[in-house]
Subunit: 115 residues, 2 copies
């Protein structure tokens, strides 16, 4: 992301699109419930407390983005996270959020080293 030659418009679109997939709380919730396990749609509906149709749609979005695997077994469909870079990114974001909050806290407290 600090290349000598700037990324093309197309590449920026692709990257932006991938961030967009992760920019919804319910999708993040689903991903977190999945973790490294395989779960059925029904399980995720119960775990998240969200509407079945809505969960199903978000699973499609995550699936089409290449973040999930799909396995059908009888009436149930099981999803699983295939791209663990998701969790890596969430950890980075969490760390970044924590840093910012800490910095804000330091400023509020009048810490000399703050900012």
């Amino acid at each position: 992301m600090k290349p000598r030659k700037p990324l093309s418009e197309n590449m920026l679109e692709i990257i932006a699109q991938r961030f967009r997939v992760l920019s919804d709380p319910l999708r993040l919730n689903i991903l977190q419930r999945l973790g490294d396990q395989e779960r059925s749609v029904g399980e995720l509906v119960v775990a998240t407390g969200a509407n079945q149709a809505n969960v199903s749609k978000h699973l499609q979005i995550l699936f089409r983005a290449g973040y999930l695997n799909r396995r059908k077994d009888g009436l149930q469909v099981f999803y699983q996270v295939t791209d663990s870079s998701i969790f890596e990114m969430c950890e980075i974001v969490c760390g970044s959020v924590a840093n910012q909050l800490q910095a804000t806290l330091d400023v509020v407290r009048g810490d000399e080293n703050a900012e």
Copy 2:
């Protein structure tokens, strides 16, 4: 992101919001033009070829999200990336995109080890 206890709705909202800030091609373009340097709004308008008002608005969004610093000097305003976790995440996404494309390519080519 694989916690024993699931993250709260609030935390998921915050994380989603941060991903959303990165989910726009023009904002990614601006960040990439900034790199580790400090640049004025005008420079970024030229570099991106985008509308001045639009660049300014996106800079506000990035600034309010805590990704940028602001420094005023006369008529000009200079922005600088403060949170380098942005570039870390972009690199992860780029790697992930590359992996997926490679996997797709392998499938297309009928590679035995694919998928």
